[in-house]
Amino acid sequence: MLTIEKLKVYGADTAKGLSRCANNEALYLRLVDITVRELSSGSLGEALASGDPERAFEAAHKLKGSVSNLALTPIEIPLSELTELLRSRTPGDHTALYDEIVRKTNELASL
């Protein structure tokens, strides 16, 4: 079961995330859970695979919003980098960044 302590160990800035939820731990944990499910749904992977740069950017940007607000730092770092690359339509292979996001998501999901 997900706890604040586990999230801290994972590397999330829980103090910051909680401060945005009026320090309501139950709410914070529920929102983290929702976000993990969204991250695990494969929507970002599908968007990246579609070849549509706008769709890829939108998917990354949306996830980045949630992850940043919850201060899930281990995912936030690669996801922010990916989002900016997609925003600027920087050509190249972003697989490494995506794999890192998947890895950190799985890590979070297993807590």
Binding site: R20, H61, G65, S68, N69
Partner: protein
């Protein structure tokens, strides 16, 4: 808390519309402000637009995410700010795109919340402050503006005019008041909606003028406007501009005329409100002047104003110290070969300790305007009654005297009681007092006035209708009117004998009175010619310099005594 206690604006949660499609952001925002605000969520621009349209009256604020599916947040913001019905709603934009901040603030957003969000307590504090400021701003917007025209109201106008003075100390500035001639008749004829439409058009014309030429404008009363602007030269052109497109639609007529009063290059050392008082005074001189609809304040008006203020200030002392003195002008019955003294008219003069003799033409219209005439009339009636009593006791003469009863007196429910008391105190018979009531008084609330006059007459007071023929009464009223004499308007006599003499109208009036068996009185008779004509036409009683000027009481007493000596001239019940 009982139900009444909870019925308070301060107890109600303000409603905030959160336009946000992301569930995490929605939940965080609800956690941050949900205890303080009732949060309604819209997840798209389309949904938000519908809610705003239906519920804008009850919304205190909108929180808008810029990154929405469908209609983009920036377009939602544009649409809110371009609709006058909703544009007052404060919108806080939320985005991770810092570069959008300037654009959103330029479009009318009131504040900006970055993403990721600040701490909940920071968001709440920011929103609380924004709602408070917006409500203050909205209150100011509602109170500083006239709801119909959107112009400033008078209080704020004066405040902003004073600010203009601070920034433009040396600029010559005009204080201008303008209004609609006989606006109430427009409302009566075409309805209130048409009247309002005219006021709105005048306001639009005025706004267009000040937006070009500078200055500020307000609606200061029903149909009165004030304009404070840089000094100009062509006021006719300004008036024409303000009067543009005012015809009542469908009437095919153009009856809407404005008049304007200008206090030009207004003296900035005097209070701003006084400056506009002067402009109003100037406007009053333009009333009904179709050919000269613009009046200008000049210093003779200021002097007249100062004199009026002084007379009003001095009134109570004057009554207390009996500075008002009664003059008497005799009236002669001319029906027989030899005229005889039949009565007199009491006329008031003011022997002012500093100003000398003040003409009644100066103070009577003033006191009629402010209501002091009631006190003055009562004073004159009482003083006259004392004199009548005195003549009875010392001279053994019973001479009826007519006194003026002003229009406002007729609305006094205690009027008959006051006259009875005066007569009783003086030991007089009601017939000793003749009451002169101006013809125009009969045209207002006729029934009430006729009842009052009938009551007085039933008690034995005799009624003379003053200024008869001055143009107000309907001739049919003569048959129902309780009156004992008609006193012809002095203007009739003056104009009948002026230049090309034409007495036909005068003769017709006297003939009319005769047909109703009411005696006629002519006043202002000065010459042999006037006397002879009036007598020949059948006028019954004559008053004027032909017989005597108005005399102070001591001289009038001598006059009576003199007449007493020539018994033939006096057919009065001389001895009690």
């Amino acid at each position: 808390m009982n139900e009444n206690n909870s019925f308070r604006i301060s107890e109600e949660k303000r409603r905030v519309l959160l336009i946000e499609d992301d569930i995490i952001c929605q939940e965080m925002m609800k956690a941050s402000i949900g205890d303080t605000y009732d949060v309604i969520v819209a997840t798209s621009g389309e949904e938000a637009t519908g809610i705003i349209r239906a519920q804008h009256d009850t919304l205190s604020m909108i929180l808008l995410d810029l990154n929405l599916p469908g209609i983009k947040g920036i377009d939602v913001l544009k649409s809110i700010k371009s609709d006058p019905e909703f544009s007052h709603l404060p919108v806080i934009v939320m985005t991770s795109d810092n570069e959008a901040e300037v654009e959103c603030l330029t479009l009318g957003a009131i504040d900006f919340i970055p993403k990721p969000y600040p701490a909940s307590k920071v968001i709440l504090a920011r929103i609380l402050r924004t709602v408070e400021l917006s409500e203050d701003r909205e209150t100011l917007r509602l109170t500083e503006r006239d709801q119909l025209t959107g112009l400033y109201n008078k209080d704020f106008f004066f405040r902003y005019a004073a600010q203009l003075d601070l920034y433009h100390k040396d600029a010559p500035t005009d204080a201008i008041v303008f209004d609609v001639n006989h606006f109430h008749t427009i409302n009566d004829r075409y309805g209130k909606a048409a009247g309002n439409e005219i006021l709105k058009r005048i306001a639009d014309n005025a706004i267009a003028y000040v937006s070009e030429a500078g200055g500020i404008v307000c609606r200061s009363g029903a149909d009165t406007f004030m304009l404070y602007c840089r000094h100009i030269d062509d006021y006719e052109a300004l008036l024409a501009r303000l009067s543009a497109n005012l015809d009542v639609e469908g009437s095919g007529e153009n009856h809407v005329r404005l008049r304007m009063g200008v206090y030009l290059d207004a003296d900035k050392s005097i209070d701003i409100e006084r400056r506009f008082d002067r402009a109003k005074m100037a406007a009053d001189t333009a009333r009904d002047h179709l050919t000269a609809p613009v009046g200008f304040f000049d210093h003779s008006m200021r002097e007249a104003e100062i004199l009026e203020e002084q007379l009003i200030d001095d009134f109570s002392t004057a009554i207390r110290e009996k500075q008002f003195v009664i003059y008497y002008q005799p009236k002669f019955n001319v029906k027989n070969d030899k005229p005889y003294l039949t009565s007199a008219e009491a006329l008031v003069r003011w022997k002012h300790p500093k100003l000398g003799m003040v003409s009644p033409g100066t103070f009577i219209p003033l006191f009629e305007k402010n209501g002091l005439i009631q006190k003055l009339d009562y004073y004159v009636w009482s003083e006259t009654a004392c004199h009548i009593k005195d003549w009875k006791e010392r001279l053994g003469v019973s001479l009826p005297v007519s006194v003026n009863v002003s229009r406002i007196d007729l609305y006094d429910p205690d009027l008959t009681e006051k006259f009875l008391q005066i007569a009783k105190t003086g030991g007089l018979d009601p017939q000793d007092l003749l009451l002169e009531i101006t013809e125009s008084a009969y045209t207002e609330k006729t029934d009430q006035i006729i009842t009052t006059v009938k009551n007085l007459r039933d008690l034995g007071f005799r009624i003379e209708m003053d200024d008869f023929g001055s143009g107000y009464s309907s001739l049919s009223m003569l048959s129902t009117m309780p009156i004992d004499a008609l006193k012809l308007d002095i203007q009739f006599i003056r104009s009948a004998f002026k230049g090309q003499k034409d007495t036909r109208l005068l003769e017709a009036m006297i003939g009319l009175a005769k047909s109703f068996e009411v005696p006629t009185i002519a006043e202002g008779v000065e010459t042999d010619e006037q006397y002879s004509y009036l007598k020949a036409m059948g006028c019954d009683i004559i008053q004027g310099y032909y017989f005597s000027r108005p005399l102070p009481v001591d001289e009038f007493e001598k006059y009576i005594v003199l007449k007493l000596k020539s018994e033939d001239d006096l057919c009065l019940p001389l001895k009690n």
